[in-house]
Symmetry: C2
Subunit: 273 residues, 2 copies
């Protein structure tokens, strides 16, 4: 039987979801029914949340689990009356950090340094815009501004990775799709990329997976045929090896994993403070 | 004096950064020097990390702080020899959860349910692609597939918000920029949006801020003039009120906050499990 899990926060709830899911992922079993309750910043809202929690308590045999990042004292107190199993990030760690840092916590919401409306915000928006503006092999003019340029066959994961690099790390990521037209000129690095060799990073993918992805876009086409996908993947990998371009196989990874591995392997510094 | 902080993980490090930054944000003061060490999954890498930590210990008066989400036992043990102040998410909470759930933790990395290569992955990629395909007022054909359609003046934050809704929540978010051309036809909802009224959500922004943002793009233009920005912002807000479209002022919010507030206010369900 599924067990209800609540991620409760007086902010966005993203931290509560992130650390809660990391912990829950360590347990196999019947699975969890997720509920995120963000912006829980007044006693009135907390009372509504309590009603929802009591509802699940009537329907389920076991107590729900609450992962919380709540600073508001009264909201906190109300949630602790629920009888649920509570994992409270702030209550657990703030007192120790207070001693270690020798200063009092502010107990104010939404102050996470990297996400407030500030220089960081502008950098991220710019970086996403950069990813969008440079998401097309036809425009080369901004490559000199790129922190990194992702290469790969069409649909190997370049675009979401570039956007994620921008949103999460403030990295300016361009991409260049290596197409059949490029390969018709020879299995070699397109000339336009040669001045930027230090910034190139390759993506590759299992050809069978690529067939599946391309079939969703253009079913039963030359583009999505097993033969064509296999040819393109082999050819781009050959280029990476010839030119000693670092590359990563995206088949088994999430967007976050692809992006953080690229950050790591290309020794890119995070651009957000 | 700044104090060094390490976010260490045998996965992407995103959870360690997220919960660590949430905790640190509760302390004002001299600030922290961030270091993220992801994919710390072998004793060899842990020894390199220790060298880096010892380096900061030689240079700084106070001990560094480590936020960790490390499952590898040996890596864990090595890091605990560092003498740093350690906040260990798994060691703190897994034993209690184990008791509560009555099952043993798997101690395997990167199993966070919402981010593995799976249905969720495809949904996110599709959702990002949807945001990109529908990031242009000229294409109306996919509005019927949208979970939500964001409206707003040019540069009020629609595009990054749509992408974030896709990446983080798997939401199909389209957007429609309300332009001067639209407003020339009258301060009213463009006809093309009328069939989708239930799905509309407005963004607005402080006009002074908008001037700044537009000036970065087209300095000293009609488009970025104070008069024009003020006119457009007033007009779109008037449309929202006339049509009773929910809206949010993005001026003081990060992309995450805008996106999670829209999820909350529009009662959108997360599309990722």
């Amino acid at each position: 039987m599924e067990r209800s899990v609540f991620f409760i926060s007086d902010g966005t709830g993203i931290t509560a979801e992130s650390f809660g899911q990391s912990l829950l992922a360590q347990f196999s079993g019947p699975g969890f029914r997720h509920n995120t309750l963000p912006y829980m910043d007044t006693p009135e809202k907390a009372i509504k949340a309590l009603t929802l929690i009591r509802e699940t308590q009537r329907q389920e045999v076991v107590q729900p689990i609450i992962f919380m990042t709540v600073l508001n004292e009264e909201v906190n107190r109300l949630l602790h009356t629920s009888g649920a199993y509570i994992i409270d990030l702030f209550a657990t760690f703030l007192p120790g950090l207070e001693g270690e840092l020798g200063s009092h916590p502010l107990y104010t919401v939404g102050k996470k340094r990297s996400t407030t409306r500030s220089d960081s915000y502008h950098r991220r928006i710019e970086a996403v815009q950069f990813a969008l503006d440079n998401d097309d092999g036809a425009r080369f003019r901004h490559y000199e501004k790129a922190d990194i340029i992702l290469l790969g066959a069409s649909r190997s994961g370049k675009t979401p990775t570039c956007i994620y690099l921008g949103l999460q790390f403030g990295i300016f990521a361009a991409n260049y799709p290596i197409t059949e037209d490029d390969l018709d000129k020879g299995v070699r690095l397109p000339d336009v990329l040669k001045p930027y060799k230090e910034r190139l990073f390759g993506l590759t993918i299992n050809p069978v997976r690529l067939v599946g992805i391309r079939n969703e876009r253009r079913p039963d086409s030359h583009y999505s045929s097993a033969r064509q996908c296999q040819y393109e993947v082999r050819a781009v990998e050959q280029i990476y090896r010839q030119e000693q371009i670092r590359y990563i196989d995206t088949t088994e990874f999430s967007v976050e994993e692809i992006a953080t591995r690229i950050m790591d392997q290309a020794s890119l510094a995070r651009r957000l403070k």
